[in-house]
Amino acid sequence: MVAHAQRTYPNECCGAMLGTIDGDTKDVSESIALENAFAGTQAERYELRPEDLLAADKAARDRGMDLIGIYHSHPDCDAYFSTTDLKNSCPWYSFVVLSIQKGGFHHANSWLPNVDQTAAEKEELVY
């Protein structure tokens, strides 16, 4: 995920996280880089194609894994969950945000939006 984010820097990257869920613990073991489909400048925006997400979900099922969440990067920005992130999120998945500062990985946070997309809870992230 970090390599993907560094590759697309100074643009945002996005992708899917696959793994297993055991109770409250979500274990990511694989990531799938997806294309940032945002039509404008991608330095501060990303957009996932639902078809790509559908394919990622299928890939997970085929391998007996779960689609756990979505990751994206914030180039030269902290790994907060912006209002744009929140409004265009969904409560089903964890959202990992990677802060990439000057091309290098800085820190990451994981967020779980509520069902009305009015707030996102910060999840403990071990990496």
């Binding site: 501060e44 639902p50 078809e51 030269d76 209002t83 744009t84 992130d85 409560p91 998945y93």
Partner: protein, 484 residues
């Protein structure tokens, strides 16, 4: 009949099944059957009104139903339905425009910013490119103006029409003793430019109103509310919501303050927190209730910090969180703020689409930039301070009642007066003779007018209000009495 694939996180609602086969001839019928079999799923997929949630896309096999026949798309037994969320996002902090450059002088000046990785040259350029409007150059505006100027904001607009007064100096540190009597906006601009000559200041020497607010605010990226009254606070909020500008809010009273960021995209606004203003007079202003002089420094600098964070796009902004500060306990607390879906200005069914009359809304008389209107003649039930003085000198038989608080009485008093604080008047009526000639005073005449009303409705016959209170007494009778 169709098979619905259940996304992993939703399997908790389907008894761990990763797919569920349910009856139905159309997509809608299948989804209805699914959510009636597994009612907990319903809230995840549908809104309370029964519409698909905005982020839910439904795929029939590998086709988005929006491009088929939407939820009336027919389903066959071999079909598979998938629920796919639409996901997007972004940091949404614009990179600095390319034309912004930092001179050698500026690089030296901002070097302690430039060596923080989170700010750096790009961050400093964002600050320089930023346009911030400060509403008010008083208690909150003073630290805001000084620090935002020093931090390197490129353009700062100031809104104020007031004049520096001696009573401002205890907290409004942007103004000096020599500035008393001077326009606040000129005094503030001079100090800010002395700190940072690279700064561009725009002076708006007007009372912000429904007529001019949108025109003034539209040229700025961020608005910082340093006002001290409800009409302007609602006006700033509404204008920010209508224009889509973040509103960095702060308020202070005695030893307590609050701060938050309103009107960001998707975030709550001031009306989500307070749909209606408090009744007039319930919440005293600094002039009425007093304020610890240092308090606006603390709160104003929280606002300044949030403003700079928003511009730089770093950290966790104070959006959806109301920070409460208690100086006496020296504690910070935080309340979660939610966007109110029924908010009249930023909710889904907005009823306010333009600026309204905020003085009427808040039930308070209008403050204007014009000179105060000439004082009215003494009305019935009022008495001039000079006449009270004459009565005292003649030795007239009458009772002078001071309805201020004991700590105000300590600051200054008229020795002949009896002290009965306004709040105790109803209980202490027995101490006064209903037939006596009574004159009541307070600081400026407001509270004594209320006390006169209480006495009159209790049957007191000869009650008069000393016009202008002890302030007028100091002006026109005894200049040795200090004003406060």
């Amino acid at each position: 009949m169709a098979k619905v694939l259940i996304p992993t996180p939703l399997r908790q609602f389907t008894g761990k099944q990763d797919s569920v086969t349910v009856p139905g001839g159309t997509v809608r019928e299948v989804l209805d059957a699914l959510t009636s079999q597994h009612p907990d799923l319903r809230k995840q997929i549908f809104t309370d009104e029964g519409k698909l949630r905005s982020f839910v896309n439904v795929y029939l096999n590998d086709e988005d139903i929006r491009y088929l026949n939407k939820d009336a798309t027919p389903t066959a037994e071999a079909d598979t339905l998938s629920l796919v969320p639409s996901i997007a996002g972004g940091s949404t902090v614009a990179a600095p425009p390319e034309e912004v450059t930092l001179s050698k002088d500026e690089i030296l000046r901002y070097s302690r910013h430039l060596i923080i990785p989170e700010v750096g040259i790009d961050g400093q350029k964002k600050l320089k490119a930023a346009k911030v409007l400060l509403v008010g150059t008083g208690g909150l505006g003073a630290p805001l103006g000084l620090y935002l100027a020093a931090a390197g904001i490129g353009k700062i607009g100031l809104v104020d029409f007031d004049v520096v007064d001696f009573t401002n100096l205890q907290r409004q540190v942007i103004h000096s003793t020599k500035d008393v009597g001077r326009n606040k906006i000129d005094s503030a601009a001079e100090k800010m430019l002395a700190i940072n000559p690279h700064l561009q200041i725009v002076k708006h020497e007007v009372a912000l109103s429904s007529e001019n607010a949108l025109e003034i605010l539209k040229d700025y990226d961020y608005v910082v509310d340093g006002t001290d009254n409800f009409p302007t606070r609602y006006l700033v909020n509404d204008a920010c919501v209508l224009l889509g500008k973040p509103n960095v809010y702060g308020s202070i009273f005695r030893f307590e303050g609050q701060s938050t960021v309103f009107a960001t995209e998707g975030g709550p606004c001031y009306r989500c927190l307070y749909p209606e203003p408090p009744p007039p007079g319930l919440v005293p202003s600094c002039a009425e209730g007093g304020v610890l002089g240092i308090l606006p420094g603390t709160i104003g600098l929280i606002q300044a910090t949030e403003t700079v964070k928003l511009i730089l796009g770093i950290g966790e902004p104070l959006i959806g969180r109301l920070l409460l500060y208690d100086a006496l306990g020296m504690r910070f607390r935080e309340l979660k703020l939610r966007k109110n879906p029924e908010c009249p200005i930023c909710g889904e069914h907005r009823t306010i689409t333009k600026l309204i009359d905020y003085h009427q809304f808040c039930g308070v008389p209008q403050q204007t930039a014009q000179a105060p209107v000439e004082e009215k003649k003494v009305t019935e039930g009022e008495i001039e301070v000079t006449e009270v003085k004459e009565k005292l000198d003649r030795g007239d038989k009458f009772v002078l009642v001071d309805v201020r608080e004991p700590h105000e009485h300590q600051i200054c008093n008229i020795p002949a007066a009896v002290l009965i604080p306004l709040g105790q008047v109803p209980q202490r009526l027995g101490e006064l003779d209903p037939e006596a000639d009574i004159v009541i005073h307070c600081k400026s005449g407001m509270r004594s007018a209320k006390a006169c009303g209480i006495l009159k409705s209790a049957g007191f016959k000869h009650v008069r209000n000393m016009k202008g209170g002890i302030l007028a007494w100091s002006d026109r009778v005894d200049p040795s009495v200090p004003k406060y």
